[in-house]
């Protein structure tokens, strides 16, 4: 079993496997990465950093591609409106 680390998703602390990406954290938390201009929830599509569908705000920086960024202890990941 991999080690677990704690991150915050939309304000709530959750535990994710070490090495998981922020996209995985969003999936574990059951949160959409962002909301499209037409109000639809969006999440990872390509999973490889190309489609930009999985953008989230990480530690206050908007439009980060969650599928490309590994979680770090204490990281704050928020859905984008």
């Amino acid at each position: 079993m991999p080690d677990q680390i704690s991150v915050k998703v939309n304000g709530a602390a959750i535990s994710v496997p070490s090495g998981a990406t922020a996209a995985v954290a969003m999936a574990i938390a059951g949160q959409p990465c962002r909301t499209s201009v037409t109000g639809e929830p969006r999440g990872p599509l390509c999973g490889m950093g190309i489609c930009f569908e999985c953008r989230v705000t990480i530690n206050g920086v908007p439009h980060c591609r969650s599928c490309q960024i590994p979680c770090e202890p204490g990281m704050e990941v928020n859905s984008e409106v």
Binding site: S36, T38, I50, C51, F52, P62, H63, V81
Partner: protein, 415 residues
């Protein structure tokens, strides 16, 4: 914003500063079914409009609603030229009384139309702030304020503190600005589509993908050999209008635009530097100006640049760099935003900064509706209205003489 939804969110190409407009996307966006030219050739029209940009679309709408039989021809799709490369700033301008009259009249026409506009037109009365960087420009703020005040246009002088409160992302040290609250923004391709669809509901025929080889003497000849006959032909071909009506002084003036990802609340008003008055009017050299616009989606549309003599559509990296540097001088936090698309277009520029609206003296079947340069989105509705007034014999709301093509074409009058 629609551009974002259709071509921004899932294409890595756009992240690579794509140099061409998304033509396939515009097809999807405009979704006008091209009609076979055969179905329209033998019909008789009162008016044939060449060019389905926002000016051509507004003319089609206005003439069709006045019960004239209208056909519109465009080699591409609705709103594919300068219309797709304009910011969509509905702005009152004061370079001259004639420019003021046309922009203000047209803005009022947009205001009257706003409740009929579909949501995708994104009409938003966000107001303009003309930003003054120094005392000289602050004097211009006061002059502008008096000019508008004397003509019934609301405006408000902002000191440095009020300016900073209004737009916190502007740099410190600016002198102030002039807020013009009735100015608005919209999304031009969808506005053109709306006008064209309304024209079609009133019987206008739309022929897309049809290139015009010649027009005049009551005939529009398409490059596939088909011919449309009409008493009145309107050249609304914008930056390409001089190719179709030789002798009119309309030159292409290239511009660049950049649009960012979504940053809600980063920007509240359309901001334009007052130095714009100096730089935009320089005809001798390429120029850039700070000109940023908030979109409904939270995206920031960044302009502007002006180049004469650039004939290629590709992005000029040097112009983009200059334009973004200028923008960051005024608004340093822009540097942290992510741009998703860069594109270009060609304005139709005239020597005296006023459009040509009216009969072309060299051919009594030809009318012009072109040369709107950077104000065509604003002035499209007034253009259509005063042109239709001329054709139908109605009395225009504003004096039309400053826009008549004959002002610079006296030598053609007796040709």
């Amino acid at each position: 914003m629609v551009l974002f939804a259709l071509c921004g969110e899932s294409s890595w190409l756009l992240r690579q500063f794509r140099t061409q407009p998304c033509r396939a996307t515009l097809y999807t966006l405009v979704r006008n079914t091209p009609r076979k030219a055969e179905t329209v050739t033998n019909a008789i029209y009162d008016v044939v409009i060449v060019g389905a940009g926002i000016v051509g679309a507004a003319c089609a709408d206005e003439f069709a609603r006045r019960s004239l039989r209208v056909a519109v021809v465009d080699r591409e799709v609705v709103g594919s030229g300068a219309t797709a490369a304009g910011m969509g700033h509905i702005v009152v301008m004061d370079d001259s009384e004639a420019q003021f009259a046309l922009t203000r009249y047209s803005q009022q026409l947009w205001q009257a139309l706003r409740n009929d506009l579909p949501a995708d037109v994104e009409y938003d009365q966000c107001g303009t702030i003309w930003v003054a960087a120094d005392e000289e420009e602050m004097a211009e703020v006061r002059r502008k304020h008096h000019f508008y005040e004397a003509r019934g246009v609301p405006s408000e002088t902002l000191d440095a503190k009020r300016l900073k409160q209004s737009e916190p992302n502007l740099r410190d040290g600016l002198q102030g600005g002039l807020l013009v609250p009735e100015d608005a923004v919209l999304y031009p391709p969808c506005a053109a589509r709306f006008l064209m669809q309304r024209a079609q509901q009133h019987g206008a025929k739309l022929v897309l993908g049809a290139s015009v080889s010649t027009l005049g003497k009551g005939r529009v000849l398409l490059s596939d050999g088909l011919q449309l006959t009409s008493e009145i032909i309107i050249n609304a071909a914008g930056a390409w209008s001089a190719e179709l009506t030789p002798g009119i002084d309309v030159k292409r003036r290239k511009g660049h635009l950049v649009i960012t990802d979504r940053y809600p609340a980063f920007l509240r008003h359309q901001l334009v530097e007052l130095g714009y008055l100096k730089s935009a009017h320089s005809v001798a050299s390429d120029s850039v100006a700070f000109n940023v616009q908030p979109r409904r989606t939270g995206q920031i549309l960044i302009g502007s640049s002006r180049q004469f003599g650039a004939e290629h559509k590709e992005v000029d990296q040097e112009m983009i760099v200059r334009m973004l540097q200028r923008a960051q001088e005024y608004m340093p936090p822009l540097r942290d935003l992510s741009a998703i698309r860069v594109w270009t277009g060609f304005r139709a520029a005239t020597p005296d900064k006023l459009p040509f609206i009216g009969p072309w003296p060299a051919d009594k079947s030809v009318f012009l509706a072109t040369g709107h340069e950077g104000l065509g989105i604003t002035t499209s509705l007034a253009t259509a209205t005063i042109l239709a007034d001329q054709v139908t014999g109605a009395k225009p709301e504003i004096p039309i003489e400053p826009y008549l093509p004959s002002r610079v074409a006296k030598e053609y009058a007796h040709a």
